[in-house]
Symmetry: C2
Subunit: 755 residues, 2 copies
């Protein structure tokens, strides 16, 4: 094995890896709670012992308080590698089904370097994943030492790590020398970039669960968390079990009490009908029983139909639910119980699809699609605010140079990647990720600019897929305004990020190009008679560029109003049928202040799924369909995904357009709270920010807002002059008021809702 | 383990791989010859059984006679991956010592595709290295089938293979469908390239030893061959053994009869002095004894100094010699026994350095250096004619896009890479490799062209290393004529290869650029007063560009003669001290017809090493040094390599300029034989070509030439009118004659040598 680890236990781990499932058993084994009835004396003894352990732990950790206690890899490499593992796990009825775009690979040889100043003599612990050597002050240290002794004073540490099988990784612990920043890294291209600090937190390290880091598991050994779940209902046949886990789930099925040797078949179903359809279910396993317990690979299901051969016996089935341990920071409650239920199921749907990366759906592709992921980023800002999941996904989508095709081969998906970075900066204010990622932003943009036509617009060239949406007869010919609109926004992103990355000259060029093309967008596609963007240079009007124009803020008030009436609310314009584009349509309506209309739509569409028993939200829902029609898609009876990330959009809409919280300056340095009830009696909830939550309560006559820190502004309408004891109420227009918000205070406003 | 192999034995192999050494034992174990004294009856029985087995084997192989019986990978990927493994095996006194340039990685997901016509029903066997799926005629086949049944008729086979750990590989066997060509491959960039036929033979498949292919070992499991060697002399101490293997060797040391537990130290020496110098020897191993037998990693040595701790015991040591099983097709014998010995030791030196790739030296770097490899290619054409070793090395050197630095970070080394391709085509005529490699030739040339200055010349920019040669005070400043000369030759290579790759437009552009810059080379650097190329735009004269100008054929007769006298034979011009540049200096002298002078130089320089007991040729030899001074270099007492590829140049010189055989048209479609004795009484030898050997005998009055096939021309000088019964003697100048040669005939010429 080429990747030698400097601790023998990793070799064991590697062997163990041969059977990943076996490994999981080993991981699970220690999680055993000993239940007994202890005496009082025993309780005291354990209490004291625990106290002593805690004190010792704190003392010991004090010793390495400033330690670099995380694994570093070359930024983006862990994500590329893990993306390969994840996206090649897809099966279709048991057959391997890989992506159809280029997959990249990690750099096998990486140099880490740091200039340190030791305030006293220090021992530095070196852990790597890969073969390595060390230089201290330019001198090669003999062998592959686990400990380096550094005398008081300034030193330069250099470590070269080689690993063919997984990204070379380094973890350095010491009292004073290996603090949390200052590590630089290169893949021998002689460009040193930051490997530590906030930036690299997002490049594959800090998102590892804390307990995994504590035991020092290196990056390649990282796994999602698991916890056992029991079935809620079982139907037993002579050679079968039909098991219902009560709701949509993702994980490993465990069969217990397996006797006899022979073949087992497991047919998985998001619906019971699918599990019963041995000929058409999308996911299945055929296994050979080799012992008392059988563990499957990771699958998505609510129901499992387990069948076995004559002469065998299976006692029962349970599962190991697999999940990313991420805290739900956002919340929403209101006077409408159906909306509350929608919020909860949407949150569960997003959580199931928030894994190693943001994926499209848990049953089928389980791939990282840029268009799907873009919506997950936005929802995530209102539910988990997990920055690392966003950057992991952005790295994995982008891959490496040279760029030979659009992301996922889709033109719009390249642009969504830029939009994702734009929003990431707005919500998190994290410039270090932008700086690391900027060179790959440039090379993708070079690829895009190299494909422009003589009008400086982008049309589909061989190898390009213009997706836009699944819609009958949607033309992708000529210059499509939707693609150009996304292109302009991408250039604006480049202008912004070039500035942040210190590339001012390029920033100015991108900014000018964006401005020129934004004017050209209106010159080429705005139809002053129809008061809307044309679909393309070939004419026609569709909703896509018009609704994006609204929440990009590209229209003036007159244009926006006309687009809302003439396009969004005009039934003669081809309707949106996918929840994917419904996300943006509802957002555009909210952005124009039509929360009342959107609330009804939510109750109809998502409420409709709930009334059919949905425990997670679907890839597509058509209220006119009946029974098993709901499960069909792509010409297959169970082709539809019943747990699809883009089905969770109410999280985003309720947080951003009802509670009304959004950043005004990058990273919520300033933020707005603009609550809109949209017909609800009252609502309350939390919106996470980098500085803690913003908490909002709003009824028809009271608004209450608090935030841990930062500066915000509360914006609302009131029929009467509002009253706020904690702040100054400013009138900013007819019935429009503002209150400036300071962190750490609770503001209560008495007002009268204008709805 | 992400790379699932579709045969359980590979999993075992993987576990076994954890201890590569253990594995080697397993490989060696079956190679046991049972020695006994069989009766006559037993002999007959075995004879008959063997006969039956041979008949059965032939019959069975007839069944799969047209079978695709080799592994395919994405062209260049196996080489990149193997290059990583090989170049990261270097240690310096036990400490890992990796290269300092970017190492690339393989594509993890690869598509293979073939349109086939089955003349009857057929069963196709599929073997992969990696997880895979199959489509037949666009339909996904369930599972990962080992056998595919195809009905008579036309079919399209598609296989997607994913492998994170090593290059995805495919081997398909069938009677009629999977013949030796027609497989296309893509890494999902939608560019399909040829994966089979002659081209891919060189991309990582056919160079595998036949016996390995026969047993179906997949590419990632490939190893060099090994054979046991015994020590020729042993000095035994109470806790040490000093073992002499009689000559320079490469392989694994085996300790036998190890008793007791404790530490073992092995100090390796190319000289006895080095092995005895525990503090300064370049290579050492410190091992823990864990059993009766101990096996080290692969090392270069003649002597091993083995020491162990108190309380332990070691009976003896042997070694497993490790080598590339490649046939020596070239030969040379002459009237001078010293030259014969030089040829043999040079051949052994080159063989030791011809491994997974052409490496620089076996003790130290063991890396693939483009400048060193370039000389090995040339020697190889006169010794092994192993095309696969050349293309393996070219692929590994080039790596992948994007180009971020010169090859090995050295500007001249990028140019040698082009020169290597130029020569490869001249000697082999293999266009399929050129076609596969052409896109990477273009991207490297784009990188080079992007670094030109306003004069269109290349000067060192940050990150560039201008090596040229190890020579005191050699200036790398300004426009260095040597680099520009190599650049012009590289452009000529591009023009040639663009044409072969069907890129005529680019071919014309490169051709014109080469012509313009060749004229500019003379305009900018040729000094008509000194009748030589200036070293650089800053002035001065050195040998480098002047000697290359000779064998590139850039000079007219007047210029060449002046350069020979005014530079090559002018002691006031800084002398060449490295065998690396001596290679070219001696070649330039030979090209001007000075074989007599070169013969003396050979006897002095290489004969000098032999007289000091060399069993392989050195990195450097200075006859004025004494004793252990010969072993020092780079400021270290044993830094010098005593087995360095570039030390083997007599092979090339004797084959090309004494036997005088070289191609006149690509792939020896036409060739010249121009024997020059250079002071020898007689000489004879073989020069390998793609069509068999050219055999030459030459004395002062007889020349005898034969070749298996092809058309050649014998060119020689004679004081008298020569006589040849087998062909027509043509007079082409004063004392100059030619005889046209046909394959399959032996030509004997009676003449009188003019020397």
């Amino acid at each position: 094995m080429s990747a030698a680890l400097n601790s023998p236990k990793w070799e064991l781990k590697k062997i163990c890896d041969l059977n990943e499932d076996l490994c999981r058993h080993r991981v699970v084994a220690p999680v055993v709670v000993v239940a007994s009835r202890p005496t009082r004396r025993v309780k005291v003894f354990w209490g004291v012992l625990t106290g002593v352990m805690i004190v010792l732990y704190i003392l010991f950790n004090g010793h390495v308080a400033k330690a670099q206690d995380k694994w570093m890899t070359y930024p983006g490499d862990f994500e590329v590698w893990m993306g390969n593992k994840m996206q090649n796990r897809r099966t279709e009825r048991g057959t391997f089904f890989p992506p159809f775009w280029r997959l990249d690979n990690h750099y096998v040889l990486v140099d880490f370097r740091k200039e340190v100043e030791c305030l006293s003599d220090d021992d530095v612990e070196v852990l790597t994943e890969g073969k390595y050597n060390c230089k201290v002050d330019g001198q090669l240290v003999s062998g592959a030492p686990r400990w380096l002794h550094l005398a008081k004073g300034k030193h330069v540490l250099e470590l070269k790590v080689y690993n063919q099988d997984s990204p070379p990784a380094l973890r350095v612990r010491s009292r004073s020398c290996a603090a949390d920043s200052g590590w630089m890294v290169t893949f021998e291209d002689k460009e040193w970039i930051d490997a530590s600090g906030k930036a690299s937190d997002k490049s594959g390290t800090v998102w590892l669960p804390v307990e995994v880091l504590r035991f020092g598991v290196p990056p390649s050994q990282w796994r999602l968390a698991i916890s056992p779940r029991q079935a809620v209902h079982v139907e037993r046949g002579s050679r079968s079990l039909i098991v219902d886990f009560g709701k949509e789930s993702f994980g490993y099925v465990r069969l217990h009490g397996v006797k006899g040797r022979g073949k087992l078949s497991l047919y998985y179903g998001e619906s019971k009908e699918e599990a019963l359809s041995v000929d058409s279910c999308e996911v299945l396993d055929r296994l050979e029983a080799v012992g008392d317990t059988v563990l499957t690979g990771s699958r998505a299901f609510r129901y499992v139909n387990i069948q076995w051969e004559e002469g065998m016996q299976v006692d029962s089935a349970s599962m190991l639910f697999e999940y990313l341990p991420v805290a739900q920071r956002g919340s929403f409650r209101c006077s409408d119980e159906e909306i509350n239920k929608i919020y909860d199921v949407a949150a569960y749907t997003l959580h199931l699809n928030t894994r190693e990366f943001f994926i499209d759906g848990i049953k089928r592709d389980r791939w990282i699609w840029s268009g799907d992921a873009y919506q997950s980023y936005l929802m995530n800002y209102y539910l988990f605010f997990d920055e690392a999941s966003v950057t992991r996904t952005l790295w994995a989508l982008r891959g490496k140079d040279p760029v030979t095709s659009h992301i996922n081969t889709i033109m719009d998906y390249s642009f969504y990647w830029y939009l994702g970075i734009y929003d990431y900066y707005q919500y998190t204010g994290d410039t270090s990720f932008i700086r690391l990622c900027y060179p790959r932003m440039v090379s993708l943009m070079n690829f895009i600019e190299g494909r422009r036509n003589k009008n400086r617009w982008l049309v589909g060239l061989p190898g390009d897929w213009l997706f836009i949406d699944w819609a009958d007869g949607l033309s992708k010919k000529g210059e499509v305004s939707f693609e150009q609109l996304l292109y302009v926004r991408s250039l604006e992103t480049m202008a912004l990020c070039a500035g942040l990355a210190g590339d001012g000259v390029a920033g100015q060029r991108y900014g000018e190009e964006a401005a020129v093309l934004k004017r050209k967008l209106f010159a080429d596609f705005w139809d002053e008679n129809r008061m809307a963007f044309r679909h393309s240079s070939l004419g026609g009007v569709t909703r896509y560029s018009n609704m994006f124009g609204i929440f990009f803020g590209y229209f003036d008030a007159r244009q926006q109003d006309a687009v809302k009436r003439g396009v969004l609310l005009n039934d003669s314009i081809q309707k949106i049928t996918t929840p994917y584009m419904r996300f943006y349509e509802l957002e555009a309506l909210c952005a124009t202040g039509d929360q009342g209309h959107v609330l009804k739509e939510m109750k109809d569409y998502w409420g409709g799924m709930l009334s059919l028993g949905a425990t997670s939200f679907w890839e597509k829902y058509d209220p006119t369909e009946k029974g098993v029609q709901h499960y069909a898609m792509y010409g297959r009876p169970f082709g539809r995904s019943l747990c699809h990330a883009w089905g969770a959009s109410p999280i985003y809409l309720l947080g951003k357009y009802y509670l009304g919280v959004k950043p005004l300056e990058p990273g919520y340095q300033r933020y707005a709270v603009r609550p809109v009830l949209g017909g609800l009696e009252w609502m309350e909830g939390d919106v996470p920010t980098p500085h803690g939550n913003v908490r909002v309560y709003c009824s028809r006559n009271t608004i209450r807002v608090s935030a841990a820190s930062g500066k915000g502004v509360l914006q609302f309408k009131s029929k009467t002059r509002p009253v706020c004891k904690e702040g100054v109420v400013r009138e900013v227009g007819k019935n429009s008021y503002e209150v400036d918000l300071e962190g750490g205070k609770v503001y209560t406003v008495k007002y009268v809702d204008t709805e």
